[in-house]
């Protein structure tokens, strides 16, 4: 049912649109950084670093929108949870953006050091990270609690792949594989992807809070 105050509805949906937009930006940044690495395109990596500013600005915008709604409409019940969670979610998205920048910076170093066969080892992890982030974003825009729970489940796969990958790369390094620095950078990228999975889980937990009023963090 709509609110009696039309402005209230308009502002709530504008807030939601802003979060969805920020989600799209963060996911795109991650994709672009990975694409830069896999297609040997340093320019894409630079783009990600430059464009992070936009994600940060979007975070500020969401804060302002949320604050203004709290101030003017005193939201309660699910409206209040929606505003609080939107602000939380934009924190997670901002950090996903930061990880995309980390990936871009590592990728740039790897590319500068010359072609590295092991780069394609992260493909399965990239696939899972993409799935979990876009799952979290869809769960938010569709307010889909079931999907949010699935996202939380997906993180197991992300963790598992990351662990296996960093172990095998560490072994290669111990075995004398070269160049060490590039291999280390692949491990760092893998870790960023794993952290992105954790952030997607945070987003999913916020969505469960919106729909069920249950705080499932740290449970």
């Amino acid at each position: 049912m709509a609110h009696i105050l039309k402005n209230y509805d308009d502002d709530l949906s504008a807030l939601k649109d802003s979060v969805v937009e920020m989600g799209t930006q963060a996911l795109a940044a991650m994709e672009k950084a990975i694409k830069g690495l896999s297609t040997n395109d340093v320019e894409l990596c630079y783009d990600v670093i430059d464009e992070d500013e936009r994600i940060d600005q979007q975070e500020k915008k969401i804060d302002e929108q949320g604050m203004s709604i709290l101030l003017r409409f005193n939201p309660v019940a699910s409206d209040l949870r929606h505003v609080l969670s939107s602000i939380n979610i934009c924190r997670s998205l901002e950090r996903i953006g930061d990880h995309a920048v980390n990936i871009a910076k590592r990728a740039r170093k790897i590319l500068k050091a010359g072609e590295l066969e092991e780069v394609r080892l992260i493909d399965p992890l990239v696939l899972e990270a993409r799935k979990i982030v876009s799952g979290a974003l869809t769960a938010f825009s569709d307010v889909d609690e079931q999907l949010a729970h699935k996202v939380i489940e997906m993180d197991r796969a992300v963790d598992k792949i990351h662990k296996a990958l960093s172990k095998s790369l560490s072994n290669k390094i111990s075995g004398g594989a070269q160049p060490t620095e590039s291999l280390l950078n692949v491990i760092f990228i893998s870790r960023s992807l794993e952290r992105i999975g954790d952030l997607a889980v945070n987003i999913a937990e916020d969505i469960v809070f919106i729909t069920s009023a249950e705080d499932i963090r740290h449970t």
Binding site: M1, A2, H3, I4, L5, F73, N74, V76, A77, A213
Partner: protein, 272 residues
């Protein structure tokens, strides 16, 4: 009214354990037209002692009517009638034939939306209820007046002008005076019908603070249209719609995560 039930001496009123309801409303229906139509329908709720309970709901849903049932103010309407159920206060059926409304109101005081001090001195306003009870001793009256004004957080502002007219006070002060007048007779329950709706934000904040303090000595039932006020002052909230009780729960739940969609729609401004 029998000696064993609600007695004239408030101190001798039966006490209720703090987890027992001081007011128990059971399947209450109420009519203003001798039962042709029920303004309140099958309402059951238990109000705990020593807590603040808020009644909320859209205009005309029957909040004031229910509040007035609790001290039988509706007796003033000739055609008013309880059509089903009962209300027990301190274990006594308040509509039992032997219960006098005047007696009941000693235990169940009321503060109205439009503050209504008598056109008398500040002192006489507060002493009024005690004088009606036949108390003439100046020492006792002086003490009760000071104590009540202290409790109503008004003493400091009026102690040097107790003999001047109550009508010379500001609106917020007049409302606190009415609260002092109500609590002077030491009721167990104080009913408040939109006590702040005619006050500015500062006077409102004062009354809200006062409610929190009074809670130690009295059970308070407050009708309010101000949702933020209900969240701030009350422990439990009852939401009414069209004469029915829709949901009654802890205030945190009613405004945080109500169980019934109608409640959520109303508290979040989605009504109509």
């Amino acid at each position: 009214m029998t000696e064993t039930s609600v007695t004239t001496d408030p101190a001798a009123a039966p006490s209720v354990a703090s987890n027992e309801p001081i007011i128990a409303i059971d399947d209450l229906s109420f009519s203003y037209d001798l039962g042709k139509t029920n303004t309140l329908r099958n309402i059951s709720l238990e109000i705990p002692a020593g807590k603040v309970t808020a009644f909320i709901g859209p205009s005309g849903c029957g909040k004031s009517t229910l509040l007035r049932c609790l001290n039988r103010m509706n007796d003033l309407v000739d055609t008013a009638k309880v059509t089903t159920g009962r209300i027990s206060i301190l274990g006594q059926d308040i509509n039992a034939p032997d219960v006098e409304a005047i007696e009941l109101r000693k235990h169940v005081g009321m503060v109205f939306q439009k503050y209504n001090p008598f056109p008398k001195s500040i002192y006489e306003n507060v002493a009024y209820g005690l004088r009606v009870q036949g108390i003439k001793n100046k020492g006792i009256l002086d003490q009760a007046v000071e104590e009540s004004l202290q409790k109503a957080a008004l003493w400091g502002e009026v102690k040097d002008r107790l003999d001047s007219s109550a009508l010379g006070l500001s609106g917020g002060q007049q409302q606190r005076l009415c609260i002092a007048r109500t609590i002077a007779v030491k009721p167990r329950i104080v009913l408040m019908d939109e006590p702040c709706s005619a006050l500015d934000p500062i006077a409102t904040a004062r009354i809200e603070e006062l409610i929190a303090e009074l809670q130690e000595d009295f059970t308070i039932v407050i009708v309010t249209h101000n949702m933020q006020q209900a969240t701030r002052v009350s422990d439990r909230t009852a939401f009414f719609y069209l004469g029915e009780l829709i949901e009654y729960d802890e205030t945190q739940i009613i405004f945080g995560n109500p169980s019934i969609k109608q409640t959520e729609d109303y508290v979040s401004g989605r009504f109509g």
